[in-house]
């Protein structure tokens, strides 16, 4: 072969990869990533960016409630996007709320991924009875909706530890609920690709070498099954954010004092009748944009990584 010797670092491999190539050519992906990064940055910089701290009750004046955003008659200058029913600055509370939503979304997805990847790997590699049990478990889990898990977990926790405990640890609770409810997605995807990888000869070669199952599973099979995990993660994050919003909207999620985007939409919902539409619609728009860009990024990633569409 006429290939010359070159040291390929990880960075060099990335630089030459199709991923980067395709990214450079897809303006929609670039735009989505830019918007997504802006939202994430803004959310996590909220304590510095937000004009007020909405968690600080001293900074809130109930008399300022339901002020409209700046382009509408009657706006007050330093409430750029107006205020909500409790007089909190809407811009600040949206920034903080986005942060809560993102934390729950990412946290839940990490939990889902840990559970799902482990179970999927075990089921796919070990097969037989382990596979049957784990996959039945996944089926059962899937047949309960997230809502049902939330109601059950919420009820149990509230009954045993009290509702003040629940609202204090609401973020963790929601991560737990959404994480538990949606791991089967991962388990199924991982299991399918483990089954495909397992039949390849390098796995046999590793067995012939005498390597133990654990090493083969984690060192050989797992790294080769991660690209689909990567792809569904985007969709899962978007789903988790929506699930959280839905739960909060139904009053099963974040408390009003510590609102996420979902609870903001809910809290504003009652005031639409009275004409203060912005309390609901502006956080709603942020939610839609956030979920949309994540999904579009996921679509692009899926196209790039789909081995049937792309051959090296």
């Amino acid at each position: 072969m006429t290939t010359q010797v070159s040291t390929t670092t990880r960075w060099a491999r990335f630089r030459d990869s199709y991923l980067l190539y395709s990214f450079k050519r897809t303006w929609s992906a670039q735009l989505c990533l830019a918007i997504f990064l802006c939202l994430v940055l803004a959310a996590f910089m909220a304590p510095w960016l937000a004009p007020t701290n909405p968690y600080d009750l001293r900074q809130i004046d109930i008399l300022d409630s339901e002020l409209p955003p700046f382009w509408i008659e009657g706006a007050v200058e330093h409430y750029t996007l107006g205020t909500d029913a409790q007089g909190r600055d809407l811009l600040s509370i949206i920034l903080y709320g986005t942060r809560v939503s993102l934390v729950i979304g990412f946290g839940a997805v990490i939990l889902q991924a840990i559970l799902g990847v482990t179970f999927g790997l075990l089921a796919g590699y070990l097969g037989g009875r382990v596979d049957a049990i784990l996959m039945r478990l996944a089926d059962i889990q899937l047949s309960f909706s997230t809502l049902m898990v939330a109601i059950v977990v919420g009820a149990v926790v509230k009954a045993t530890l009290g509702s003040s405990f629940y609202s204090q640890y609401a973020v963790l609770m929601l991560i737990l609920i959404i994480g538990l409810a949606e791991w089967p997605q991962y388990a199924r995807t991982v299991r399918a690709s483990v089954l495909a990888e397992k039949s390849k000869e390098y796995v046999d070669a590793a067995r012939v070498m005498g390597l133990g199952s654990r090493r083969i599973m984690f060192r050989h099979v797992l790294p080769n099954t991660l690209s689909p995990v990567f792809v569904i993660s985007t969709v899962q994050i978007a789903n988790a954010i929506i699930s959280e919003a839905a739960l909060s909207f139904l009053g099963l999620g974040m408390p009003e004092t510590h609102p996420s985007l979902g609870s903001l939409i809910k809290s504003g919902f009652d005031y639409i009748q009275s004409g203060s539409w912005w309390i609901t619609l502006i956080p709603g728009a942020v939610l839609v944009v956030l979920v949309l860009v994540i999904n579009l990024l996921g679509d692009w990633l899926r196209d790039v990584m789909n081995p049937r569409l792309y051959k090296g």
Partner: protein
């Protein structure tokens, strides 16, 4: 089924004929190996309604049906046969990748089937395998260096870093791969180079026995010669014993010490290579030989087989070849022929040969 009923008779003749050779101990002995694969899924899927009753319905692929083979030290035993006749299954059972349904595998006199992975570990160093598909047999996420170091680290846990690296350099050089390429990944190499790396991986632990499952069929003619040469050089240098699976008879003629011809999960003829090519005895071997496309200009006079290739799911009664055999008679359809030793070191499983009618 007839062939099950006949099994004891077969076994008796087998042991009788093996008894004579027992003086020189074979490196690998395969005895009465069978392997069935279930086609019917798990327990729930096997339940069927039949005649108003719930019955358990199971279907099997009879991949291997009573294979007995000996491999002597230092030889290259080639296994040939058509696709699906069970060559790979034999190889995978020998390597412990599959467990046999019945039968024994002895390595150096000791039984190695049904050993736990831990008990097998010392044998892993002595027997290695090379696979067919060079594009799938290297882990795409590992560099060549990592791939080759892994078996050394496992089998020589107390070796120094330097020692491992030196050994890797040594095997890479011995298979003709530039040691500087260690940092690269498998996909950066051509098929022939990947197969060299796979061979290097097998040779790294200094095995004495190598199972090669069609190691050159995925390669081009000019590359096949290189890899075959490499395998022959390795045999000389390391005194290797090969179980070599292929469907290319030209390669067999060149490479094999002895040849075993398989058909539908049974061995129909075992013979020294030269003898087999000079005078094939079994009707299937004869048909196989006549089917090789030759370079000479005479039009082929190949033996046309009639009839359909039977599936291993519904195994035919009697001789597995009878449906396509031009010499089949009533006895062939009824009775399973045993592998019977002939005068010239050949063993043939054919009633026709036994009765002297062909």
């Amino acid at each position: 089924m007839t062939h099950v009923a006949n099994a004891p008779a077969v076994a008796a003749t087998e042991t009788a004929s093996f008894g004579k050779e027992a003086s020189t101990q074979a490196l690998l002995e395969i005895r009465e190996l069978t392997k069935r694969f279930s086609l019917s899924g798990d327990f729930l899927e096997q339940l069927r309604f039949k005649g108003g009753r719930l019955v358990r319905h199971q279907e099997h692929v009879h991949a291997i049906n009573g294979v007995s083979l000996d491999i002597q030290r230092g030889e290259a035993l080639c296994v040939v046969g058509e696709s699906g006749c069970g060559k790979s299954t034999v190889a995978r059972i020998v390597m412990g990748l599959l467990t046999p349904s019945s039968g024994e595998i002895r390595y150096d006199g000791k039984r190695i089937d049904h050993l736990t992975p831990r008990q097998l570990l010392p044998y892993r160093k002595r027997m290695q395998m090379i696979f067919q598909n060079p594009y799938a047999s290297l882990n795409p996420r590992m560099t060549i260096q990592q791939t080759l170091e892994e078996p050394l680290r496992l089998h020589h846990p107390n070796w120094e870093r330097e020692q491992v690296r030196d050994k890797v350099t040594e095997v890479m050089t011995s298979v003709g791969i530039d040691p500087d390429w260690g940092k690269r990944f498998g996909h950066e190499f051509s098929g022939g180079q990947r197969q060299r790396i796979a061979i290097a991986r097998a040779l790294a632990v200094d095995p004495e026995f190598i199972v090669a499952d069609e190691p050159i069929s995925a390669l081009d003619v000019s590359i096949q010669a290189q890899v075959l040469n490499l395998l022959m050089d390795a045999q000389q240098q390391h005194h290797l014993t090969y179980l070599f699976i292929t469907h290319d008879l030209a390669v067999v003629e060149h490479f094999g010490t002895r040849v075993a011809v398989m058909y539908l999960g049974t061995v129909c003829e075992v013979a020294p290579t030269a003898t087999l090519f000079a005078s094939p005895r079994h009707p299937y071997t004869q048909a196989l030989m006549s089917a090789i496309p030759r370079l000479e200009d005479d039009r082929p006079q190949h033996i046309r087989l009639s009839g359909e290739v039977p599936t291993p799911v519904n195994l035919p009664s009697g001789c597995v070849f009878h449906a396509r055999c031009p010499y089949a008679n009533e006895r062939c359809r009824r009775e399973v022929p045993a592998l019977i030793a002939q005068g010239d070191g050949t063993r043939v499983a054919c009633h026709g040969v036994e009765e002297g009618r062909l």
